[in-house]
Symmetry: C2
Subunit: 420 residues, 2 copies
């Protein structure tokens, strides 16, 4: 087989005489991957290929012909702006970043969007994401839900501050049952009116991924520090893992959903298993918007911590703890957690972030189980908190809530996790 460059346009003739045309996308497990013109990536086993012909060296990127009006594409996207850096501008007198960029300004900055989707823009809120509260979460949830019911839209893209984007994304994953369209959160680590802003590529990539029509809530941000590829992450597996880098978001304990090469307009699906799970899950649910409980708390354990903090947690309706290692806390705090858990449903995650809790291995974990604290497998602490908020309103009985919390609903618990 000749050495192929990514993007080269090929014609492949199989031994059964089928012919496929598309741009070369790479190799995976010895299969040749072609991006077909209908947008699908298809893998071909090499032993089945009779002949490969190069048609064009590099697939030409369609450019809007100057002076000519082109028809807006059929794919319709609602772009919801909630604030954050993506909708921020720099306050030139101080150098600080403030919310305030209008929807018109954003579309003016990124005219390419018009070539790949027909866009409506709606401003939901105008806050920096760390200020997000129950009221704003409800507003976002309602707007997204309306768009899912509205036949006019094929997808929703949510511009959101990156600081807590994964919290909001997770919450929406659990808030909405029967998700029938792609809901893609994106943002920017640099304000949109700065030359180095990543918002242009992030928005374009989000829409390119939206066109794959995969239902679910996703985060689409830079996949590397270069402006070449974006990563699409299932929101419940996403975490902001760097304070400033453009590729701050990582998929933890789960493979990313897709990689988007925005220039070549290629979407490479990376996790078909998770996508199948989501499709099946959503198809078995009725489209519906759930309420959520706001009186919850997320607390990180640390050694020698003052156990009296758990008295404060008793006022809450639910608690998520970040234990050490497999999900441990000190014996000193277990007494307090016992009286907390009697009243307030309390669940255990790990501050390690990677890997699975296991409360069966050590004495400490076994004591926690005895007092009714369940481990949440490899669910991220912030995801667990958001899930608990929804679960507390969905289920009245503790046993039903326990069952909901410990079973995989949105990909937040991975089926297997390699333990080596």
């Amino acid at each position: 087989m000749p050495k192929l460059k990514r993007g080269v346009f090929l014609e492949i003739k199989l031994k059964n005489n089928d012919v496929f045309r598309g741009s070369f996308f790479g190799e995976e497990n010895g299969n040749l991957i072609l991006k077909l013109e209908n947008g699908y990536n298809v893998g071909f086993e090499k032993k089945n290929i009779r002949k490969i012909k190069t048609i064009k060296k590099i697939r030409a990127v369609k450019k809007r012909p100057s002076g000519k009006k082109i028809k807006a594409p059929d794919f319709r996207v609602l772009l919801l702006l909630t604030g954050g850096t993506i909708a921020s501008k720099v306050e030139y007198e101080t150098g600080a970043v403030r919310p305030g960029l209008s929807k018109e300004e954003i579309l003016e900055l990124i005219p390419e969007i018009g070539n790949i989707a027909n866009i409506d823009v709606q401003e939901v809120s105008d806050i920096l994401s760390e200020n997000i509260d129950g009221k704003t979460w409800r507003k976002i949830g309602n707007s997204v839900f309306k768009a899912l019911k509205n036949k006019k839209y094929d997808a929703v893209v949510v511009g959101h501050g990156t600081d807590v984007m994964h919290y909001t994304g997770s919450l929406l994953s659990f808030m909405i049952d029967g998700i029938n369209k792609p809901i893609i959160f994106t943002g920017s680590q640099r304000s949109s009116d700065r030359p180095s802003s990543d918002s242009r590529i992030n928005l374009i990539s989000s829409i390119l991924f939206a066109r794959e029509k995969i239902p679910g809530v996703f985060i689409c941000m830079h996949g590397s520090v270069e402006d070449k590829t974006n990563v699409v992450i299932n929101a419940v597996n996403a975490r902001k893992m760097h304070t400033s880098r453009r590729d701050a978001f990582k998929s933890l304990n789960q493979k990313e959903i897709a990689i988007v090469s925005y220039k070549e307009r290629i979407v490479e699906i990376k996790n078909r298993e998770l996508i199948s799970f989501l499709r099946e899950k959503f198809s078995n649910e009725k489209l519906r918007l759930n309420n959520f409980e706001e009186r919850v708390f997320l607390l990180r354990f640390f050694p020698n911590m003052d156990e009296n903090v758990f008295n404060f947690l008793k006022k809450k309706k639910g608690a998520v703890l970040e234990g050490s290692g497999l999900g441990h806390v000190s014996d000193k705090v277990i007494g307090k957690i016992k009286s907390l858990a009697r009243k307030t449903p309390t669940y255990m995650t790990s501050q390690c972030l990677y890997g699975r809790t296991n409360l069966n291995v050590y004495q400490t974990g076994r004591k926690l189980q005895e007092i009714g604290v369940l481990g949440l497998e490899d669910m991220l602490p912030e995801t667990a908190l958001m899930k608990l908020m929804v679960g507390l309103k969905k289920f009245r009985k503790k046993i039903e809530l326990d069952n909901y919390m410990t079973t995989n609903q949105r990909g937040e618990i991975s089926r297997t996790s390699k333990v080596v």
Copy 2:
């Protein structure tokens, strides 16, 4: 140059006719690296090499000749056991892991240690690390400090539970001034009496690194899931990043100190800059053991959190917060933090873990600075907590404490951090 396999024993003749013998260790920036028999790794510029001769295919690993008594090596190590999995055994009736393996049993399980160092074993405590408290930390600190003063010992290796090993390691880094010997924390992710236990390799690798005589507090654990290399991390940069994998510990925001190949007995130094910094820092301090303040708290911010938790923090002598992104919290909690910070020194880190806080970029950060909350650069949250514990006893004036907290003492703040 011939293609060389790692471990092959070579004789290198330079153009200036100098001759060196040692095992091939790899290439770095085009230089050939040789592990000399004296233990040093030396790099040779290829243009200076006249001739390379292979002496032995793979350097034979010295084995203790059976029946012969060998002299104990001159290098003397105090092995302090504090509990944790490394000193645990499986309770066979339940399958759970319990502390209790004695020092004799450990030495019986790992006889190779006798070939590389002359060991004394001392049991300091017998608890699982999540139960560690001020009293045990003081015991460990005292035992380590005594060994540093005792001319009999060249190094201290501390067997510690992995769950909070990085907390204890960080604390000791700040507790002891003028550190004059290597202090190496190690542990096990599998109990020592199980066949798959990693404790044997971890203990051997710790002692091999100790023989490099680099002063400081380090963590030495598996560097990969294979049993081939161990990683040595400066304790203040270490974090347990996986619940169960043997290579759970990672060096965050700072390059690791060294890689140890235990079979070949090769220690590859990876961060000479940090080692130089530590050497200089310690040589300017007097050997001394500092006290620490226990009434501190580490709290993670999350969106929509109940701000009344900060009333609880007011009872503390110091607080470390884990903000979102660059070190942010919601406007709602800023009011509470303002009254907290008036009385209790409060510092900001980031829950992203990777990257640097920056309270200058956004309004939220600027508000925090105005109320006296300082960002701690790229210091890890748990490291910041341990540093604050020591700082609170070391300095009476807030301005002195602020200066201590925001300047690099042990490598906890990296000099530069790539922002891309």
